[in-house]
């Protein structure tokens, strides 16, 4: 049996105590042990961004982060973000701008966009494009995602 490590952290505002194997990723912990399937597996090597979550405010590819590193940290997933006022506003903008097709990249995009809007009040269109550079989408061609983020920022694209 692999050794288990007990860790404590906050997830979407709620304290958690979880036993995890040392080789488990945060993505596996979220989807498996914690049953939060909004965070998606797309590649498992940090190349597609579908597993993006926030850790202490920063966006992280949860497939690359060992679960044991969550100790003492504050995590937010799409399930937590989607029910905040900022998350609801962003989701509405994604819906109304047609930024969602198959929807598989959407949770990761939402998280990445959420960070962008937190750190910059009025991001330029180019900043938005750079900001979601690590999040792949195969359906939309990105334009409507960029539009959605720009609109949610209260500013049309320049």
């Amino acid at each position: 049996m692999p050794l288990k490590v007990e860790i404590e952290f906050r997830l979407n505002g709620v304290g958690q105590r979880v036993s995890v194997a040392p080789d488990m990723t945060v993505l596996e912990m979220l989807r498996g042990a914690l049953g939060l399937t909004g965070t998606k597996y797309g590649c498992g090597e940090g190349e597609c961004g579908t597993c993006t979550i926030r850790v202490d405010g920063a966006t992280v590819n949860s497939c690359l982060m060992p679960a044991v590193d969550c100790e003492g940290r504050e995590l937010q997933t799409i399930e937590g973000f989607a029910v905040t006022p900022a998350g609801e506003r962003l989701a509405r903008s994604f819906v109304n701008h047609g930024a969602v097709q198959c929807g598989f990249c959407t949770p990761g995009m939402m998280m990445q966009a959420g960070r962008l809007l937190d750190s910059l009040e009025m991001p330029s269109r180019e900043t938005i494009q750079r900001g979601i550079e690590g999040n792949l989408c195969r359906c939309t061609g990105y334009k409507k995602i960029i539009d959605a983020i720009a609109d949610a920022a209260g500013k049309d694209a320049q």
């Binding site: 998606k40 090597e45 819906v95 969602v100 929807g103 550079e133 995602i145 960029i146």
Partner: protein, 786 residues
């Protein structure tokens, strides 16, 4: 509240709020009680005999419920378009992806550990790594023996006959008199083109869950794009009645044609479910998705085209060799679509078309958005530019002189009832200042500036009203209206992210005068929904849309006739709007209240109706003459590139697209389809390349297989040409595949316009472009018969 027409409005997708909140449950997110996890052991050899498989150690690993090889399922039947592919390989592997054994275990990790304990001994065979080798008479045949099926009773039946050579499939077509075409030509051009491997890259990897119920019925959770066809195929595979198979499609993380065929992992999950009597889930890793999923079919293509001095096309002579890979999936049938572009995009009196899909030990090819048309259009549009140049004509004028008009029946027999081709050409050219820029860029070839600009145009023709690949192309609808005037629309049409659910709801609401909130769509369960041929060939809006409208009109007619009787007025004087039954502008009855008043009367059945639609037109004959669709979609796109001659880097700056879509139904949805298709086409042209060397996929990851990212997208200018197709739902035609088809062709023409260098192989990576500009390119060479 008064609502206007919903047609042409920007309607957000009905499934978008769940998706944006991360609440949508894809197949990866579903776990059933008692579920086991499956993994597949694949060949480590490109081509070999299987001498021995030892699974003893794997079977003993705690947590392993079943280990199966071909020996455990002697009754397995071959799958695929040519039935040349056994899910678990018996005595021979023909590609590196081949399935040798499979494990069902308590967890994916245990299944993985069990795979490592399976020993396989191979006797290597000489690999056949390209089509040239495959066609050589000295090369052994890859399917040179009969594929024999052993029925459960011991009966033996040949299901795939030994092939005489390595040719998997051919599509040959001819019209007119080629010798006459050559004689009529003042100018003739000829080139060899190479179209590379690419793959779908759905963000959601492939997966399936299979479960046998206690009564022996099979329940499959599947990502398939064709649930009803697969129901039949699975039934045949298992030797059971199709009625005992139920397919549920959870929301799908991208399709693009990748889910049109059955692949071995699906039968394998079913075999394991049968062996263990437990639900079995099998989900790919991303590496598997890259290495073992079918690709777009790579094509070597030789095209010879001619025109008269006055600028009329005279003939096209086409030969293609498709690398089919080791097994036959839909990729082998793409020449069927390609021939339409050669024979009928432009008017051409004489055309000869000869194709061969050839077995090799490479990964095998499936269907991918555009279905051969990207490859065909790439060649045709290169020649439209080359012929125009040889004639000294402007490339737009030359195209307009040869473009199809509405009403045309081509020599192949395709009938273009609605056709906005010329308007597409003129619109895209005018909005991009194509001719002005074309002349300007050419004048700067030798200006000493290492950074060049180029502009290129390309157009396409594609099915837009269903595709008569099967004897019937239809879709069923059941429409239920409850006591509160809430509509449940049960449709056979699958949603794969493209927005069919929303557009069908919109079409129904338009008929019944209801808001979109009054409709729920059920579209993902073969036990509930009526039959449909599947989501492919840009057909869903057209076929399923017509079906849904038909059902809504039936319901409306019944409701209005009951209301007319009650009010004592003619039904023709009544209409439905905003949840009311109206006579002129006067509100006669509130719809919900009126429906409730029909309770327990003999009119009660009017709340339930169904409709089935199939466009009535002639099918193609055995020589491929005739119609393949009830309507055809057209588009012209202009690509503007910036090209750095010092690095070979090509940047797509702007894409101007004009699409004949019949009519815009959901503006937001159609923009999304076109923008997404453009960027997918951009990847095909510039960045995506599945590198297959010695039968091995060398870049099975997003790190090394480069998808276009957000900062790289071009400025996009979209125009919709509304030709109001007479057969289309509210005049609309299909659009799903169209936007991806022209980009590579337009970019190739733009590179030529920037530099004077014609590149006939894809993709336009910096290395390929740099070599071409510096005279160091090795252009594709025809390796088929002379």
């Amino acid at each position: 509240m008064t609502t206007g027409s919903l047609i042409g409005k920007r309607i957000p997708k009905l499934d978008a709020p769940e998706k944006a909140a991360g609440r949508t449950r894809y197949i990866h997110d579903i776990d059933l009680p008692g579920q086991l996890h499956a993994k597949i052991l694949r060949s480590t050899q490109v081509h070999a005999k299987i001498v021995r498989i030892d699974t003893a150690a794997a079977r003993k690993l705690p947590g392993v419920h079943a280990v199966i090889t071909a020996a455990d399922v002697p009754w397995q039947r071959p799958i695929g378009v040519a039935k040349d592919h056994l899910p678990l390989k018996r005595d021979r592997v023909r590609s590196l992806r081949d399935e040798i054994a499979a494990v069902a275990a308590e967890s994916p990790e245990i299944a993985e550990r069990a795979l490592a304990l399976i020993e396989v001994e191979y006797e290597p065979l000489a690999p056949v790594l390209d089509t040239e080798a495959a066609l050589s008479p000295d090369t052994p045949r890859l399917h040179g023996e009969d594929l024999v099926w052993e029925a459960p009773g011991g009966r033996r039946e040949v299901l795939h006959k030994a092939s005489a050579d390595n040719v998997a499939m051919t599509f040959d077509y001819a019209q007119g008199d080629m010798a006459q075409g050559e004689r009529d030509s003042a100018v003739v051009v000829e080139d060899v083109f190479w179209l590379h491997y690419v793959t779908h890259c759905c963000l959601g990897v492939s997966g399936v869950i299979a479960e046998f119920e206690a009564n022996g019925n099979l329940l499959i959770y599947s990502n398939t794009q064709v649930p009803f066809l697969h129901k039949r195929e699975f039934a045949e595979l298992l030797g059971i009645d199709p009625g005992r198979i139920r397919i549920i499609q959870p929301p799908i993380g991208g399709g693009f044609g990748s889910k049109l065929d059955i692949y071995p992992f699906e039968p394998i999950a079913i075999f394991l479910a049968k062996a263990t009597r437990r639900p079995v889930k099998l989900v790919y890793t991303r590496e598997e998705e890259f290495a073992v999923s079918p690709t777009r079919q790579p094509v070597l293509l030789r095209l010879r085209s001619g025109a008269t001095r006055e600028g009329r096309l005279t003939f096209r002579s086409v030969e293609t060799i498709h690398d089919n890979g080791a097994y036959t999936s839909w990729g082998a049938t793409t020449p069927f679509v390609m021939m339409q572009t050669f024979s009928s995009l432009y008017r051409v009196p004489h055309c000869s078309y000869r194709t061969r899909a050839v077995y090799t030990n490479n990964p095998y090819a499936g269907s991918f958005r555009g279905y051969g048309n990207l490859q065909a259009t790439f060649a045709v549009e290169a020649h439209m530019d080359r012929l125009a140049e040889a004639l000294g004509m402007d490339p737009l004028g030359f195209r307009l002189a040869n473009a199809q008009d509405p009403g045309e029946i081509t020599p192949q027999g395709m009938h273009f009832k609605s056709c906005g081709f010329k308007e597409c050409l003129q619109t895209a050219a005018a909005r991009s200042d194509y001719l002005g820029k074309h002349a300007e860029n050419r004048a700067r070839w030798n200006d000493g500036n290492p950074v060049k600009r180029g502009v290129g145009i390309a157009s396409m023709l594609h099915v837009g009203g269903g595709a008569k690949i099967y004897p019937s192309d239809g879709c069923g609808t059941i429409l239920k209206i409850d006591d509160f005037a809430h509509v449940t629309l049960l449709t056979g049409a699958s949603e794969i992210g493209q927005g069919s659910e929303t557009v069908l709801a919109q079409l129904v609401c338009e008929e019944l005068g209801l808001p979109l909130t009054a409709v729920s769509v059920v579209n993902n369960d073969t036990d509930i929904t009526p039959w449909d041929v599947g989501v492919h060939a840009s057909r869903t809006t057209f076929i399923a849309g017509n079906s849904a409208i038909g059902a809504a009109r039936k319901a409306k007619a019944k409701i209005l006739s009951a209301a007319a009787r009650k009010a004592g007025v003619p039904a023709a004087s009544l209409s439905m709007k905003d949840g009311f039954i109206l006579k002129g502008d006067e509100k006669l009855y509130e719809l919900a209240k009126f429906l409730r008043s029909l309770h327990f009367s003999d009119k009660a059945e009017l709340v339930m109706t169904s409709f089935y639609y199939e466009p009535p037109s002639r099918h193609q004959d055995r020589e491929f003459k005739g119609d393949v669709s009830a309507a055809y979609a057209w588009a012209s796109q202009v690509a503007e590139v910036e090209l750095d001659t010092q690095t070979g880097i090509v940047r797509l700056v702007k894409l101007t697209a004009a699409h004949d879509v019949g009519r815009v139904l959901n503006r937001l949805g159609i923009e999304g389809q076109i923008e997404g298709g453009i960027v997918m086409g951009q990847g095909y042209a510039l960045t995506e390349n599945l590198i297959v060397e010695d039968g091995v996929v060398r870049n099975p990851s997003f790190r090394d297989y480069k998808l276009v990212t957000a900062p790289e997208i071009p400025e996009m200018d979209l125009s919709f040409i509304e030709t109001m197709d007479g057969e289309g739902p509210q005049g609309a035609k299909g659009v799903g595949e169209a936007p991806a088809i022209c980009i590579a062709a337009a970019v190739a023409n733009a590179i030529y316009n920037a530099t004077g260098v014609r590149i006939t192989a894809l993709p336009f990576t910096p290395e390929r472009v740099y070599r071409a500009l510096h005279g160091a390119a090795a252009p594709p060479v025809w390796t088929g018969a002379k």
